[in-house]
Symmetry: C2
Subunit: 84 residues, 2 copies
Amino acid sequence: MRYTFEVLVSLKPGLADPQGAAVASALPALGWSNVTQVRVGKHVAVTLEAGSEEEARTQVEAIARRLLANPVIEEFRIVAGEAG
Amino acid sequence: MRYTFEVLVSLKPGLADPQGAAVASALPALGWSNVTQVRVGKHVAVTLEAGSEEEARTQVEAIARRLLANPVIEEFRIVAGEAG
């Protein structure tokens, strides 16, 4: 069966995020001054054939750890993707 | 109250995604040959002060539409973020 999982990769808390800071600093000029933090990361949707959802999730986790996230500066979490 | 929402920005289906294709093409060499598609997008966590969750979500949607996604080539969806 075909499964889609999404890997959300974000910078570890505390690390500087210039891209997020740039977005945050643009917001007050657009009338949104109540935003306290913006953090920008990656979002990777992986679609794969697997025997079970559990098996698919385990594999996506291995792929994320090996290929998608840099464990020194990033953390990731996996959410079930939209049906695809 | 403080709310966090996450904006998941992805390329519209059908548009070429070279970054995703690069990831997908690296997988078979690592022993994962059952992956049929990889799509890479952005993931933006927005934390803001608002009177209600509904109000916060509406504002995050406006921010995403105005600033975070390019409507010509991208689509986005909003998910409740982790407590922050």
